[in-house]
């Protein structure tokens, strides 16, 4: 990664070509791993490996190659680890979804399941769209600071996207009890919240860069900690109210926690004031406790939240109804043990929604503690690379945006994986890059594209890239 970027030198000399090919090896390795996973799945589920087993890996490889080339042209200094790492997660997700398709198909019809069929095929298509989106972002936005020009637009769009499912009728917006969707007919649905996350964060970053002086300096001292003035609390309380409304009207604790955590952490990064973290945590846990108390006493819109907490406390108390999903997930994880049953050798379909919220538990049955730990390390790698870009980039907007995005990704991983492994109450979140769902995949690839863009700016040596 310390290699000399050769984009400016021009010409297609042999050393140049070799150097470019060397940059591909991580991506190739990732796709070889996905290919191996696909082969193991076929061996375990069909008793033989079909000659075209590697097809999904090949298609994915070509798609990511395009992104790689786009990144090499438009962001030559970008962090070279990000694309291969995310590509591996994305590829394993497609492979696992294909494995679920195979399990759902009758044994005699398994060999007829082609690359673009089923959930796996759908996810493959979405990967194509997501990567196209990421490439477009890299192509058209050559400097991340351009984003701040549209900050107010993005902020407004973000709030509309968040609120839209709540105000739309349940028939259009509700799936499995959570009002997070906009459904177009029966086949196509998007989760606007996934995009709202990015838009709101861009706005937060812009707003906080403008206001950080005020928020950081004007304060009152209380018990040795600087607390902000009452009127500066305004925007924080607005976001808090917004996230509580998400919790209540969209019945979704995860998204609410995510928005609020995202905001508080960017606020903290901007102001360097611990007091914001304390206020944020108090507000969130206060709100959550209040919601739980209301759920236990008043029920109504809070009831589903109360049930989730009860299930978290003891999933086996009602193992066939409310606790079914979580207990089956835990049983799957436990059955997998240290090494797992092997790709394609478990019974992930015992867990409802295994393609979605519970994909981590489903994979855990087959790849075991060791495999899941590797996945965690991949996520950690992406998050820490994002934070590193934030640390090294020179402008405040870039720092806040990259830091906020990286943290949000890490928090989302924590919220969903902590939920399915019974560390915290389960909330409806997608597992970034793994679980089936186009909105999440597209939004998270856009997030990666922004991180790429900022890391390019961060790593460009002074004087080579002009004003970067």
């Amino acid at each position: 990664m310390g290699a000399t970027p050769v984009i400016q030198t021009g010409g297609l000399s042999l050393p140049r070509v070799l150097s470019e090919i060397r940059r591909l090896w991580l991506l190739v390795l990732a796709m070889v791993l996905v290919g191996c996973y696909l082969a193991a799945v076929e061996a375990n589920m069909q008793g033989k490996i079909s000659p075209d087993f590697f097809f999904p890996a090949l298609v994915l490889g070509l798609v990511f190659l395009v992104l790689h080339v786009v990144a090499r042209i438009t962001a030559p200094w970008a962090d070279p680890v990000l694309i291969p790492t995310v590509a591996l997660l994305n590829g394993l997700g497609v492979a696992f979804l294909r494995r679920l398709d195979l399990a759902r198909a009758k044994p005699s019809e398994r060999s007829e399941l082609t690359v673009f069929m089923g959930l796996g095929g759908r996810q493959l298509m979405w990967t194509l769209i997501a990567v196209a989106g990421a490439s477009a972002l890299l192509w058209f936005i050559r400097d991340h600071r351009e984003i701040s020009k549209y900050a107010w637009t993005l902020g407004l769009a973000g709030i509309v996207l968040v609120m839209l499912p709540a105000v739309l009728p349940g028939s259009i917006s509700e799936v499995n009890g959570a009002k997070l969707w906009i459904k177009f007919g029966s086949v196509f649905a998007i989760q606007p919240g996934e995009f709202a996350k990015l838009a709101l964060l861009a706005f937060f970053a812009y707003y906080l860069v403008r206001k950080r002086e005020v928020l950081a300096l004007a304060s009152r001292r209380f018990m040795g900690i600087d607390f902000p003035r009452g009127r500066d609390l305004g925007p924080v309380l607005v976001v808090w109210a917004l996230s509580l409304m998400v919790l209540i009207f969209e019945k979704d604790l995860g998204t609410s926690l995510l928005y609020f955590g995202m905001f508080v952490v960017t606020l903290y990064i901007a102001t360097e004031r611990v007091s914001w973290l304390i206020i944020g945590l108090l507000l969130f846990f206060g709100g959550a406790t209040m919601a739980y108390v209301l759920a236990e006493t008043a029920g109504g819109p809070f009831a589903s939240f109360g049930t989730r907490v009860d299930v978290w406390l003891d999933p086996f108390a009602d193992p066939y109804k409310s606790g079914y999903q979580l207990s089956q997930g835990l049983l799957g994880l436990g059955t997998g043990g240290l090494f797992g049953q092997g790709a394609g050798a478990g019974n992930p379909l015992e867990v409802p929604e295994v393609h979605n919220d519970f994909i981590f538990a489903g994979m855990g049955e087959e790849i075991g503690l060791f495999g899941l730990t590797a996945l965690l390390v991949l996520y950690l790698l992406v998050v820490e690379r994002g934070l590193r870009a934030a640390l090294t980039v020179r402008d405040s907007f870039g720092k806040l945006l990259a830091g906020g995005l990286a943290f949000t990704l890490g928090l989302q991983v924590f919220v969903i994986i902590g939920g399915v492994t019974k560390l915290i109450p389960l909330t409806g979140q997608t597992t970034p890059f793994l679980s089936a769902g186009g909105s999440s995949l597209v939004a998270n690839w856009l997030l990666v594209a922004i991180l790429l863009r900022i890391s390019d700016a961060a790593r460009t040596p002074a004087g080579t890239g002009g004003a970067r």
């Binding site: 990064i269 835990l330 436990g334 043990g337 240290l338 075991g368």
Partner: protein
């Protein structure tokens, strides 16, 4: 802003550390608990991923076989012979505990037995799921078919009963039927709700079709007991078949006013030979003989013929068997002594003719006949001839017949054979005769005490030139008049079936 960014990095590390620690908790510490949780259906699914082995007969017939399906459960257990083999095979439903051979040989059939470790080890490398092992039964197909159909179509209208047939020289079970039967296919259905409903209905059925009456129920043997009393007389009183003993129209045991009569139509002289007393089934003679023998000798001889036997598994000779509660229901005599320790003579008199508290299972009845046929050597009954590997060639177990006990001397057994052959030739067991074979036996008609009809019994054997060929017991519950004669006829048919299969080999 770099300082808070670094702290955020630390927070992320802590959060991921918590995830990692929690995963260790779930997948390592709690793994065994979750894996074996009653809510975990994966173990069951795994069981159905591998083809369960077949249960086969000597002629190659598969009586329990798993066939591939398109379901989530990949193999369906089927029983092509339906009701005919239901009790000895048992059943292997999805959600209900297995019974019979399916339960006792479960590990070998499922392929999880240590004996099949080699196959499992190979599977790791080939990636295949080699089927489970196969079980070869001792059952004679023709005898089993005869036993099932003749019992079901009995001519006295009995609705409950059992048949057991043994090879006297080895103890191999050649037929085992319990009536009424059931179709195990309905229980092994992958529609678990339907299977559960069938199961509940069978459990609720007053006739108890799930019970294997051949091994798990004990009943009054009636006059079958006279064979054992005769054996005791021969062994310990020095009697011979032609020795004269006291008979008469009634017998009144010392210490009671109750007079034991003979059955209607039985003519029993005041002085009668032991053989004739057995042939006409003279109650008075055997009641008196039992009193003369005393509690000690009756108990000793009965124990030698299989009473109080608690370790008959009827499966493999070195392992588990099909009997519910792991062993064949124990035969009992009841209390034959008074509270002061002396002989309870009225009790002995009634017990001598198989009434009062004397109880045996049909299996024990067959074992008594087999012991007489096998010259006093009682063989341990077994049902599993071989455990055959998935490749159908490797034999992991081969039955080696075991002597259970020496029940009586060869001479006594010879005398008993002669007397029992006379019963079939001249007496109550004529229906059991087979041309070219020396068939011996003893009928029994047991009073059931209540207002119910009597039980009909026949225990018997077939010899060919002194060589034991077959032994059988037929029990017809509440069969009423003619029950024992019908039992003798069925026994004859079952033994013909055994003879036919022997000839075919």
């Amino acid at each position: 802003m770099n300082s808070p960014l670094r702290k955020v990095g630390v927070v992320i590390l802590v959060l991921f550390g918590l995830l990692f620690a929690n995963l260790n908790w779930v997948q390592a510490y709690k793994a065994d608990e979750y894996r074996n949780s009653p809510y975990n259906s994966r173990v069951r699914l795994d069981e159905y991923k591998r083809q369960r082995g077949a249960v086969i007969l000597a002629n190659g017939t598969q009586v329990a076989v798993s066939v591939a399906t398109e379901d989530e459960l990949k193999y369906l257990r089927t029983y092509p012979a339906k009701e005919m083999y239901a009790h000895l095979l048992g059943y292997k439903p999805v959600n209900i505990g297995p019974t019979g051979i399916e339960a006792s040989e479960n590990e070998f059939l499922a392929g999880t037995s240590d004996k099949l470790f080699g196959d499992r080890f190979r599977d790791i490398f080939t990636g295949e799921q080699t089927a489970g092992g196969n079980i070869l039964l001792t059952i004679s197909p023709t005898a089993q078919e005869k036993a099932f159909t003749e019992l079901a179509n009995n001519r006295v209208g009995a609705t409950k009963g059992a048949v057991v047939a043994l090879d006297p020289t080895t103890g191999a079970v050649k037929a085992m039927v319990s009536m009424p039967s059931f179709d195990p296919n309905a229980l092994s259905s992958h529609d678990t709700n339907a299977a559960q409903k069938v199961y509940n209905d069978l459990l609720a059925n007053a006739d108890k079709p799930l019970n294997n009456r051949a091994v798990s129920e004990i009943e009054e043997p009636g006059s079958v007991m006279k064979v054992v009393i005769a054996a005791a007389g021969l062994e310990s009183l020095g009697l011979q078949p032609d020795s004269a003993i006291q008979g008469g129209a009634t017998y009144q045991a010392p210490g009671t006013t109750h007079k034991i009569p003979n059955s209607t139509g039985v003519v029993c002289a005041d002085s009668i030979s032991l053989q004739q007393a057995l042939t006409v089934s003279c109650n008075t003679a055997f009641a008196k003989l039992a009193v003369d023998l005393g509690a000690q000798r009756v108990t000793d001889v009965a124990t030698k013929f299989g009473w109080y036997q608690r370790d008959l598994a009827v499966g493999r000779l070195d392992g588990k068997g099909i009997a519910r509660g792991a062993t064949v229901a124990e035969g009992t005599l009841g209390e034959l002594r008074t509270s002061s320790g002396g002989d309870d003579k009225p009790a002995l008199a009634l017990s001598g003719i198989g009434q009062r508290d004397v109880r045996i299972s049909p299996m024990q009845g067959a074992m008594i006949a087999a012991t007489v046929a096998n010259y006093g050597k009682q063989m341990r009954p077994y049902l599993v001839q071989q455990q055959v590997g998935p490749d159908l060639t490797t034999i992991h177990y081969r039955a080696a017949p075991q002597v259970l006990q020496d029940s009586c001397s060869r001479e006594t057994a010879g005398s008993l054979q002669q007397m029992m052959i006379n019963v079939v030739q001249e007496g109550t067991g004529k229906n059991a005769r087979i041309d070219g074979y020396q068939v011996g036996g003893k009928t029994g008609t047991a009073e059931t005490g209540d207002d119910e009809e009597t039980h009909g019994w026949f225990v018997g054997f077939a010899l060919k030139d002194g060589q034991p060929i077959a032994a059988t017991a037929v029990f017809l519950e509440n069969a009423g008049k003619g029950g024992s004669a019908e039992a003798a006829r069925i026994a004859g048919q079952v033994m013909r079936g055994m003879i036919a299969d022997r000839a075919g080999k």
